[in-house]
Symmetry: C2
Subunit: 454 residues, 2 copies
């Protein structure tokens, strides 16, 4: 009996499949990274089943790659060494809403939009917003963030507790329900961002927020990206508690207009959002307007209506897909560095010059309030020159960010794409990360080839 | 040549002392935990010296206990197995203020008040406020928090990067200057709260904040602790962004009045603070006043003047010392649980009943906006009955908090006092924490006997 038949005995026949279409779906993510098929796709329905599959795989030395919805951007879910793609989409229940405690307990296959739909009934929302409608398990695994992190924080700030299954089948909890704790080592923080290399997340307890009394969104246009970015630094330094500050460059606004039939002015633009009580928010908007105008803002439009606001952010979120659809047959490459906020103008100017000098068609967008920006470009995977150029640009951008004390990835994670920069970014600490990996996963079955280069 | 002479050769004679007074100072903290003398006190001046001492101690199997100012409350700095007390007070420079990046780089011996004095020149402040004027190294080691954490977060939320020396002498950095990162394992979070059991912190890069445009403090009195706590739940659930919400019970107000000559109304009281822009804050205060009155507030007094505000918080901070001075010869015991916010009234009521049934003289205070409260009592260490009662109360309070999904320590840390609750709180995860300890410190020289029961 081969190992796939053994798995079918362990769970049930319909939870274990070698169907070609399903294997193909589980062999790629949304990025330019080269696909690789798993041997088999397994759909567990409970933590006990996840534990049984891991203990089995660990004994048989079979790689296991957790899979949510496949929206990763650095090859995280690609089973580069074959084995089992562990699809958690059947574990997709919102288990408990503790509205008085501002907590919610969910299974890992619940998506961001599914959770927010449920929370809206309680006047609450989940803050982390990476654009893609990812699963919460995947978002915790990559320590995702996005447009609202400048105000509400990143995934690591929202997770109170995880249930995690380790390679040997052990089921542990990494936290609790308390708003803070100084008890024991911070396994919560360690598991978040570990990208399935230490364990499989089977349950999450998350912090949620009340929907703010008042929300105002806006668009501010500038003659140059540099003026837009200088404004961001000014807004941050003034201490205005912006809920969102997104840069969308001219190239990307053109893409949006082309794809969505909008007629936004085709100039570098900041998409902004303010949250607060009625009067405090009004003060913030007035002060922000002043600062934007002082920094060369050529036009400012506000949206108070929920529908118009939602449309604005939908356009922002669909930007990556807009690039993808504009270049059929090509694959998306996105850089993802963060630099200290005061170095942001310098870093973006450096990136822009590099793009121009290489004569590449690329857009710059980003969560600039965190010092995080992305260069989006479409790569023809059949053209070695195209691939080489994309890699050269990525390397240039990463090395410049690291020279400023920044990071090679602000939110997409390491996967296989950023593994080569880990030593440069972390130095000797990288060896200690490897030792931690070694205790939790001595047989290297947990998403092998990710974060660490074997 | 004995090991102390070898240390004198390694550093210099005046940095290595066996003076009895100094050893006695390094043999205790501010708690009821039994003192124990170190063999020697060592004062390193640089990361290289810390590295040399650790590599030496590791080779010779000598325990090393990092020491800041000795304000710990669970016996953290007590060298229960002798060895070296590594006093970091000579490494007390504010190395760099990057005001445009809202970052500051400090050595571990810098105290909270020393840093805030420096930051005030730049219109900024460091938010974590545990009451004691602790060192920042110690605050990171215990993941300290305090009065302002309800708004600005705990120590783990402020640390961007640590330089840490490991048992073998390795010097690593656990983070960087970026506001967020998904790169590699979160060693930053792991080191914070590890209480010197994994390494010695030799440098910290911390997030700081602009001083708010407007600050208002206030005192709200209630007939019962339960009404006060119900108000806290109401304020939190209304989403008012309180900067501080502190409970001080009747017993403790009496202590304050007695010790400081104030004439506060001797009733259960909430000390409150609001931060914001002028108009937003005004709205918050109006809304909060309404909610407080709805929940049985019998009197409300606001202080807008900086001096009056500072006095209010000084009184709050000195509360533990007030108890200590009121009972000469006795030692302070403080519980430190956190429960989910909605369970806070139930938990405090349970604690209050237990105190009454045991006929103990104790005060209840706490950072109730986080669901964190302390029972303060003075213990006669020569009276076995007193000690037994204190232990019984602590155990009762911890077990009740854990039964609600809470934690045995919100901010004081584990030390030796809470080690016995680690298994109960963390279950199987505790074994994995032990394994992490084992890789970083295979010879168990780093603050042995803390967090883990040997």
């Amino acid at each position: 009996m081969n190992y796939i038949e053994q798995l079918q005995d362990l769970l049930s026949h319909e939870q274990v499949t070698t169907n070609d279409v399903l294997r193909e779906q589980h062999g790629r993510d949304e990025s330019y990274h080269e696909p690789h098929l798993p041997d088999v796709v397994v759909y567990p329905k409970s933590v006990e089943e996840v534990s049984a599959v891991l203990a089995f795989a660990n004994a048989q030395l079979i790689p296991v790659v957790p899979f949510g919805l496949g929206t990763s951007l650095e090859g995280h879910v690609i089973p580069t060494k074959g084995g089992i793609s562990l699809d958690l989409s059947l574990m997709n229940a919102v288990l408990e809403v503790r509205s008085e405690d501002f907590l919610v307990k969910v299974q890992p296959g619940v998506t961001r939009s599914q959770l927010n739909k449920e929370l809206k009934k309680h006047g609450m929302f989940f803050s982390v917003d990476p654009g893609a409608d990812a699963t919460l398990g995947g978002m915790a695994a990559t320590n995702a963030s996005g447009t609202t992190s400048v105000r509400y924080g990143i995934m690591r700030d929202q997770v109170r507790d995880l249930e995690v299954v380790l390679a040997n089948g052990d089921i542990i909890h990494t936290g609790g329900l308390a708003a803070k704790s100084s008890s024991g080592y911070h396994l919560n923080g360690l598991m978040i961002g570990s990208e399935g290399t230490l364990g499989v997340i089977t349950e999450l307890t998350l912090r949620v927020y009340g929907i703010p009394e008042k929300i105002v969104a806006g668009r501010a246009t500038f003659n140059t990206v540099q003026e837009a970015v200088n404004s961001v630094v000014a807004l941050k330094q003034a201490g205005i508690p912006m809920a969102r500050i997104e840069l969308v460059d001219k190239n990307s606004i053109e893409q949006v207009n082309h794809a969505s039939g909008t007629s936004f002015i085709e100039m570098p633009t900041l998409f902004l959002e303010f949250h607060g009580n009625e009067s405090g928010l009004q003060s913030d908007v007035v002060f922000a307007t002043e600062l934007l105008n002082d920094n060369g803002c050529t036009g400012l439009a506000f949206e108070q209506d929920e529908r118009a606001r939602n449309q604005l952010w939908e356009l922002r979120h669909n930007l990556a897909y807009t690039y993808i659809h504009s270049a059929p047959g090509k694959r998306l490459m996105s850089t993802d560095v963060v630099v200290p906020i005061n170095s942001l103008p310098e870093a973006i100017e450096n990136s822009r010059k590099k793009i121009e000098s290489m004569n590449i068609n690329a857009g710059i967008v980003g969560h600039v309030g965190d010092g995080n920006y992305h260069i989006l470009l479409m790569v023809d995977m059949n053209d070695p020159h195209d691939i080489l150029q994309a890699k050269e640009l990525n390397e240039h951008v990463v090395e410049f960010a690291l020279s400023l004390g920044g990071t090679c990835t602000g939110e997409h994670g390491v996967g296989s794409g950023k593994a080569k920069y880990q030593r440069l970014e972390h130095g000797l600490a990288y060896d200690w990360m490897k030792q931690i990996k070694q205790i939790f996963d001595p047989n290297n079955i947990m998403n092998p080839g990710k974060i660490f280069i074997d």
